[in-house]
Point group: C2
Chain length 452, copies 2
């Protein structure tokens, strides 16, 4: 694919004309063998030998090799790595060059000033520094083909999420991130000075996406959510990207699990289709999403853990991380699935809007999706009757009046509905087996980090 | 298109089976004439006549009419408008019914409690209340087919924006909304208590999208931006959705204008394709986006305004709203275009990162796009050399050290680049000729409004 760059055009009255000149992208160089070409990108690496020098130019599609001889080679002294250059030359076939073609007889023009050396060499094949150094210098570090790869996966995954839901009749929404009351709990919420009043950053679009089920039946949102996480761990962030879906006219949480399965399939398929080069670069294998992801009831899960491990979690209202890891391994062994639904969590550990299981009201029509040993998604059916909300809040010792704005819409007719939220950065971290979620977060925010 | 709803499934160990029952959507009813069908949705309107009653059920695709006779009709007394119902009956052809089909011999089951009456009748064809009442009750008001229509346009427009840029080699990014320093100016910024430190809500992703040009060359973001606007006007919001694009290897701002023209074409095309029903409902006509949107130089624009109106703006560094309106009308008369680029704005009114016009350095390689009389988009070429940033800040009496985090990446090699930002709500407001931007904003935030 060529990218056409119009030259400077007239800035006079309407009707300007433009000349077009073409820039060839690195990945397309082999298709231009025998032709004069212009490429442009970053000086990735210089190799100055006795009689010949090589300039590797990096653009968004890959690397192009430029062969320089004689006085041309001396120009490289003024073009340190990361300088942006335009190269005009002849594309020739070369078995040794990346992509099987290289450029000879070239003129090299700097498009930026000579680059200051990055804090580490970006041309090394491995990751060139520790996480703290990378994050402190993210603007430059992300140019490294391995460090930018997770974000290529993320962009593809989001496209796949949307693509599946668009086809399934969902409508995309954009909801307020500044809210008057904390969404789900008073803890871990950032306060804002809102024109002299106290406001908060939204911890989730939960209320808004439920409300919009009353308007569009099926909605999704891709947007930032905020948690004032006081824990400095490898998996907590103060801001992350939440892939939220919510929809009506369901029978129970299994309908939610089905749509989630479809969305995950869309995400991994899109990664294969749009980001296969990044997958190869990372050396990872994408896990197949089973047509029916295995499911285990919370109680049965505890029985299994008791039977097969040294611990007895029965009576606990939630699964411990070690239990989740064991269950995930069990599902991989038994069903060949990296994904496992755990359903029927006790009501006591779920938010007040969770729909109880009518057959055993202390349990819920909720689920967690475990992926590669960790909880990736939480979801389920929600309450949809106003009276049920009043009863649920009262039973928890809460005053329904405090939730009046949230509850009002349920008095006006809402269908049975449910939904889920996928943490984008966490999904990519599990896919890429990153040790720290910060490696899959663009400019992460945490207890200590507010820049870059 | 049918929507399949799985029935309650086993929650036992993996391998659950599901039975599927189908729900027919209102728009698909004619294709099921002669068949028993199940529909589900909201009671939009009841009409109880002497010998027969009609129930209009609204779902996300439209309206379905149910004919009830005898004792069945009495059931309507317990199903006030907005109650959610399931209707099982026979689809029959009917010239009088919406879509040409209706349901007879029906059983009606309530899926919600009897709905409390909304603060205004949602079944009236016109908009049933003033803006303040609508916004106060947005969760229910947006169910009105006219009030929800702008958000159908918005979802389609965003899909078209992404669709065009995806094909043009752009990568989608998600950047921090909490920042350590105010992005562009100290004014109009919301402060946050960030773990005891002072932080701010991002006014734009400007810094991050420029930085990511160094990584992916071409990036876009669809996300919230925040302005602590102290003005209580029909066009100011505290949060809006910004469609941001930024890309490298350009010649000048005309390349930016070309990509913007493509994006706008993608947006209007997607609205035609995905939201034609909402366009019809609103009774609007989509403006064609010219292949080459007319362009006028800022100075020439001032000359024209002086020549043709009673005012002489020459010497002013910016266009007044009245001037923008006049120019927009002029472009419509002269070129049949609802869009007009004004280029070459004086540097004094543009941000410090704006690239000057080398031929006349007091002017810039920047543009505004006027649409239906208002500025819709601002964009242009940015500075890309570190030295130029230092000089530009110094010339403005600013200390480059205050911008060290922003400037660092430019020392490491950045290509000539530029970009733009489209305000989504403003675009939809101009398309739908809304008097107030709040009518095209989902749960708007302003000086006074923090709920719902």
């Amino acid at each position: 694919m060529n990218q056409y760059i119009p030259s400077t055009a007239s800035t006079a009255l309407p009707g300007r004309q433009q000349e077009l000149v073409s820039r060839v992208l690195a990945a397309d160089l082999p298709r231009h063998v025998g032709e004069p070409v212009t490429i442009a990108g970053w000086v990735h690496r210089r190799r100055q030998l006795k009689s010949v020098s090589f300039l590797i130019v990096r653009d968004r599609t890959g690397m192009a090799q430029v062969v320089l001889t004689g006085p041309l080679a001396e120009a490289l002294d003024d073009l340190p790595e990361e300088t942006v250059v335009q190269v005009d030359g002849l594309a020739v076939a070369s078995a040794q060059a990346p992509c099987g073609a290289e450029i000879t007889g070239a003129t090299v023009t700097a498009l930026s000033g000579p680059a200051v050396a990055p804090p580490f060499d970006l041309y090394r094949p491995g990751i060139p520094a520790g996480l703290a150094t990378i994050l402190d210098n993210a603007g430059v570090a992300l140019r490294h083909p391995l460090l930018r790869a997770p974000f290529e996966l993320a962009a593809a995954a989001v496209a796949g999420f949307r693509g599946y839901l668009d086809l399934a009749g969902f409508t995309e929404i954009h909801t307020p991130k500044i809210v008057g009351t904390a969404t789900e709990s008073g803890a871990n919420v950032f306060g804002i000075d809102y024109f002299g009043r106290k406001a908060f950053l939204a911890q989730s679009p939960q209320f808004y996406k439920q409300t919009m089920v009353g308007v569009f039946e099926r909605v999704y949102e891709v947007g930032p959510v905020f948690r004032a996480e006081p824990h400095d761990t490898a998996r907590h962030l103060a801001q992350y990207t939440s892939l939220d879906a919510e929809f009506g006219f369901i029978t129970d949480h299994h309908d939610v699990m089905n749509i989630l399965t479809g969305a995950l399939t869309g995400m991994t398929t899109a990664i294969e289709e749009r980001a296969s080069d990044a997958v190869t670069r990372l050396g990872i294998t994408l896990p197949p999403v089973p047509a029916a992801i295995p499911e285990i009831d919370f109680g049965n899960a505890q029985e299994l853990i008791t039977e097969h491990t040294g611990t007895d979690p029965r009576g606990e209202p939630d699964l411990a991380p070690a239990g989740e890891r064991w269950l995930s391994g069990w599902a991989l062994r038994e069903y060949g699935s990296a994904f496992l639904f755990v359903t029927g969590y006790p009501a006591v550990k779920r938010p007040f809007y969770t729909h109880p299981d009518p057959r055993r009201p202390e349990r819920t029509r909720s689920f967690d999706l475990l992926f590669n040993g960790l909880e990736l998604v939480t979801g389920g059916q929600r309450l949809h009757r106003h009276d049920d909300y009043l009863a649920a809040l009262t039973a928890r010792g809460e005053n329904p009046d405090d939730y009046a704005g949230y509850l009002d819409v349920f008095a006006h007719g809402m269908p049975p509905h449910g939904g889920f939220a996928i943490g984008l950065e966490r999904f990519i971290a599990r896919l890429t087996k990153a040790d720290n979620i910060r490696a899959t977060t663009l400019f992460p925010r945490d207890l200590h980090r507010l820049a870059p």
